[in-house]
Symmetry: C2
């Protein structure tokens, strides 16, 4: 079963309050989606992720195909049983990882990205990634674990996602890096559309399938992609790729895309969600979004609080007997001080990585719950 009910539409923005119902339970939207790339939210057990307020998790087809392999997960009865997660689950199609790791490796992408964001340089290229080979059927790439050649295309992605058995799966897409030029991007979007039609044909009835709108920072390609997906019977829509350098660019682009998508279907923004961006995304009509921000920052000792980010690795926190966030009701804040966590981080213990992750994930979920409350009260 898969149903999306819009409970309320904001009069102030495109925000809406919804309920996404699957066979594994319902998700109140807007919702933060916890990232469990390799079938675990990093540092947490599944029951901890649930206790921290996660309603929905997203795992990764690419990673799970490579390790442990979908046959292993299937032998355990599917991803839900494997990771003992009883609530709804998504799997990403693997497209993003295949391409970002491939193109990224060729172009030293993270370095270029930083430069592009910092200086707004023009980095367009119509070069094709050389460490992967793209054909009409899919992509040949090398495993990041052992360098072995692997082929992944729309059929393979659907087959793997079928074996993993998440409630919501994504169509296999190409997700070119922001440095990709217009010509490359246009061909890529058209190929992604052809792959999406294959995914629709391969789809099992028991899983909801989201198509992924691509097109990078090019408004016409984004519109073309959204119009294409809107015309096809997907259960919901992912919005992937980069939008340009700033938050305003993204908002403008999201509006364009979301205007072209059917109102009654859920929209998932892939791999985005700095805390300061969330309200804006929701106001543009995003229903769910996944983000590694709370878990990634936690493992670097950074806690999100109602008074901003704290770098707990700093020695100034050692004597601080207050909780990470005095306004927070999470188990970490109920039990441990900034000083204790700062000490454990400086002592290279594993325990604080989990304590801060618990807090950050709780904080993100609580923040999005407060956004739902604001929509309910007509304040957003």
């Amino acid at each position: 079963m898969f149903e999306f009910t819009i409970l309320k539409k904001s009069k102030k923005s495109r925000a809406r309050l919804g309920l996404l119902t699957t066979t594994h339970g319902a998700v109140e939207t807007p919702a933060f989606v916890g990232v469990a790339t390799q079938a675990a939210v990093k540092t947490l057990s599944s029951e901890e992720a649930e206790a921290m307020g996660c309603q929905l998790l997203i795992s990764n087809t690419y990673h799970l195909h490579i390790r442990p392999g979908e046959n292993i997960v299937q032998a355990h009865g599917g991803l839900h049983t494997f990771m003992n997660w009883k609530r709804p689950l998504m799997t990403d199609s693997g497209g993003f990882q295949v391409f970002s790791l491939g193109f990224g490796k060729d172009l030293g992408i993270s370095k270029m990205l930083k430069r592009a964001v910092g200086k707004r340089e023009e980095l367009d290229t119509n070069a094709k990634p050389s460490s992967l080979r793209i054909t009409e059927e899919g992509v040949v790439f090398r495993s990041y674990v052992d360098g072995k050649e692997i082929f992944l295309g729309p059929k393979e992605s659907m087959h793997i996602q079928g074996a993993l058995g998440a409630d919501i799966i994504f169509a296999f897409d190409e997700c070119p890096p922001p440095v990709a030029g217009y010509e490359y991007m246009k061909q890529s979007v058209e190929r992604t559309h052809r792959w999406a039609e294959i995914c629709l044909r391969e789809k099992k009835k028991t899983q909801a399938l989201y198509g992924i709108v691509q097109g990078g920072k090019h408004a016409d390609l984004r519109t073309m992609s959204a119009v294409f997906f809107a015309s096809k019977p997907f259960d919901g829509y992912g919005i992937g790729g980069e939008f340009g350098a700033g938050g305003a660019d993204r908002s403008r682009m999201l509006r364009l895309i979301i205007d072209a998508l059917p109102d009654e279907k859920p929209r998932h923004l892939l791999g985005t969600g700095y805390i300061e961006d969330i309200a804006r995304l929701v106001k543009e009509g995003v229903d769910t979004f996944d983000s590694i921000v709370p878990t990634h920052y936690a493992r670097h000792g950074m806690a999100f609080t109602s008074a901003g980010k704290l770098d707990l690795g700093k020695s100034i926190f050692l004597k601080d007997t207050s909780p990470l966030d005095p306004a927070c009701a999470c188990p970490t804040c109920a039990r441990y001080s900034r000083g204790y966590i700062a000490h454990l981080l400086r002592a290279h213990e594993i325990t604080p990585l989990k304590l801060v992750t618990m807090h950050n994930v709780w904080f993100f979920n609580a923040y999005v719950a407060s956004i739902r409350e604001q929509i309910k009260k007509g304040q957003m």
Copy 2:
């Protein structure tokens, strides 16, 4: 408050069932003592350590003095508050670390130890460690964190342990490595005795003080040390150092020591406890013992089970849907399979380190609880 009540003495061995009562609650003995070197049982939160059955934890004076410093811990209201551990706590005196790290560094001790255990070579030396300087007042050594020179003696150890505020503290001792020769060991034991008398004088009424019997593998020195400590008003007795190469040597030596100690006082064996040794130690009259075995092995993917140790890092476990130990009632075994844990270990996730630690700590505590049950029933 500090009280030790012997509830039952075995007729088959020197084992006894006891109750160690402190202001932070009671400990049923024999008991496994969880190791929280830097104020956390590695990978666990304090409430998890308690939920896994830990009645008593031991932290380390040496480590906490260096990082974060006892003044920081005191600013948090002492170690109990700092780590939010509500049950009884011990702190080791720091002697073991000062000396093992010092002597160990000089002599490449772990390599020599392996050789000694494997081949029973004679490795005695009357050389003094050169990377630390021992005087009648204590030891000058270098911090393992920043190389800064630090002085630690009986007065300093008592002062630090007083500030940390554990229920049970240990007298500052020298713990020479097994390669130390007879002459060195004799002088060392005598110095440890002089230091112990200083510790008795410096002791606060609110903390129980254990003296530590030393003497290495030399029966006459062990007896001399035990007789000395027995004659002094310690609240309990630690037994430290190495005993020789095998389990039989240790049993013989423990019998010798324990015969010389007052029956009504508790005995703690420091830093020992392979699962296969525990029953033997208890039979010799050990009441409590601390061991890094369950936590250390867990972080290397090794699980203790009723059918022996399992190396979960092996790929043969990937398809295994059974829990770590079908006979175990711990939260990890209730929720996760060997296959899931094997996958997460192979994927270098942090989550499984905690899942296996929880299981191993539960397993050790449950095993010692079963030993208490056997003593109660007259079976041990």
